[in-house]
């Protein structure tokens, strides 16, 4: 009967749109990614291990992951404050400030990179004042943290903002009526409600920072063992036609990305399940 078909969907185009989507993703994403994984799989375990665990590479992991972690932490704290201020308070120019938060997301990383190094170089607008106190940011690991903070800035703000907007004011009122002071309400009622969003934003900022290249390489100075990030090592090896070396490290980065994506999806699932 005609009804049996209508149960499915009357909207046309399912086969062709899904087909095209899968085809496009397959050719542009999946086959090339599989190519890299297969290429690495051809290496012997010893070669692979040597490529991914030599001292210079390990030093770059430490920097990339460590600086990304610190940058994401900075963004966690300040991003939460920015989101709070944007949602809860009124001040002139709020709309513009709100729009500006997306700037690192739209700004090309190379432009951000040269802007940051110009600011923080010992002769730069900010760097010259820090230099007086002996603080160096450009060409040090601090510079890497600064660049990674810049590019991760929108993530915590943009994941926390909508949750904060939806947060029921009555819940805070209920807490206050039962005798809690404002600090207790924030600690025991608001922060737990924001926790999944905060963690998601943190994970997104961290994931973006780990793979970041353009904004970092100008300010970091790229000293081996000191300020060399992992993505830079991949570029260097590729430029020297050391494809196995590049592929091995690239595979490590790729698997890290998969794991982070899984964690982020898990966090989002947790949020939607627990706080519907």
């Amino acid at each position: 009967m005609a009804f049996a078909r209508r149960q499915q969907s009357v909207i046309p185009g399912f086969g062709i749109t899904l087909g095209f989507t899968v085809f496009y993703l397959g050719f542009l994403l999946l086959i090339p990614i599989a190519g890299l994984l297969l290429y690495t799989a051809q290496m012997s375990w010893d070669d692979f291990w040597r490529a991914v665990s030599n001292r210079q590479v390990v030093a770059s992991y430490k920097l990339s992951f460590g600086a990304s972690f610190i940058a994401a932490l900075i963004n966690l704290v300040f991003g939460a404050i920015v989101a709070w201020v944007l949602v809860r308070y009124q001040f002139t120019g709020k709309r513009i400030v709100d729009a500006l938060v997306d700037l690192p997301f739209a700004m090309p990383t190379a432009v951000a990179g040269i802007a940051l190094v110009t600011l923080y170089a010992p002769t730069g607008w900010i760097g010259q004042y820090l230099d007086v106190f002996g603080i160096r940011i450009a060409y040090t690991q601090l510079g890497v943290v600064v660049a990674l903070t810049y590019i991760g800035l929108p993530f915590v703000v943009r994941t926390v903002q909508p949750v904060l907007e939806d947060l029921d004011k009555e819940v805070e009122e209920a807490s206050a009526i039962m005798g809690a002071n404002r600090l207790t309400t924030i600690r025991r009622v608001i922060l737990p409600a924001l926790l999944p969003a905060l963690l998601t934003g943190f994970a997104l900022a961290f994931a973006r920072a780990v793979g970041e290249y353009g904004s970092v390489i100008f300010i970091s100075g790229n000293l081996p063992f000191r300020t060399e990030i992992t993505p830079l090592l991949i570029v260097a090896k590729a430029e020297q036609y050391d494809y196995p070396g590049a592929a091995a490290i690239g595979t490590v980065m790729l698997l890290t990305a998969f794991v982070l994506l899984l964690i982020i999806n898990g966090l989002q699932w947790w949020t939607s399940r627990r706080y519907r």
């Binding site: 005798g179 002071n181 627990r274």
Partner: protein, 361 residues
Amino acid sequence: MSIEIENVNKRFGDFVAVDNVSLSLPDGQLTALLGPSGSGKTTLLRIIAGLENPDSGRIRFHGEDTTDVHVSDRGVGFVFQHYALFKHMSVFDNVAYGLTVKPRRIRPDKAEIKRRVMKLLELVQLDWTAHRLPSQLSGGQRQRIALARALAVEPKVLLLDEPFGALDAKVRAELRRWLRRLHDEIHVTSVFVTHDQEEALEVSDRVVVMNHGKVEQEGTPEEVYDHPANPFVYKFLGNVNLFHARVENGHARIGDLTLPAPEHGDARSGKGYAYVRPHEIEILAEQDASGALPATIELVSIVGPSVRLELRIENGDDLVHAELPKARFRELGLAQGGQTWIKPLTSRVFLDGETLPSAGV
């Protein structure tokens, strides 16, 4: 603990939410603030709680001025329409919250908190949900948990904002009877806001009818229902028919019918309206010696045990609604389209343009 409200005013921009309200809510009673949306009832409740501050006027609990006491120190219990439970806490932690945020020196120990929480959960008959999350409970259960949570701090007064508003009809009817019984047990001075007149009349000891930020009438449910102070209260508390009347020397004439209107004994002559509830209209098969209005039956609808009629009287613009038991309807042998006579048993007459002061009955 009694609550005194003195000359309280509150505006939001140009909107007057509460307009010079003074009320005295006696100790241990359950009072309903009844009114349509926008009547200021919720704002008044939030002012009593300390969630809003009045532009002017005072709030006293048992004679003690609490107007400037911060909400956290005011010692009220508040139940929100949408429960406002903490989603990330178990039912137990929700109810325990008020006790656990007390300053350390007056905070009960863990065992005592546990004992009190479980006792409250038993009181609301939900002790078996202690370890669940609010999202795993039904709406009615959540509202009972919200009530237990509000009671945990042993509030001086309990305030409920449309406590059953978000529930479906059957659950609300059950829950309001339950609330009445619970109040009889614990006797804490309580105020609840509702727009549902049936709820207000059924549950409360006193009803305060509000409209446009003003108190229209206050009294026991019976007083308010049987002796509405003005046309607004009449219309708001249940269905009512309006008859155009001429008021003369303590009588109201509707066509050939004369109704007593002793409250207008001094009014010599003027236009007015007689208000009659549907069940206070007697339906007659034939003209009565003492006078009745002829009417045509336009619609008959049988609703369970009673019958509702829509009638049209001669020269009447509006339909008259009447209600009578099914047995009586059968006895009269009426049918749709047929002719009948109607006679108001009791009525209340208001002069045209009359608005009574908000004083009692």
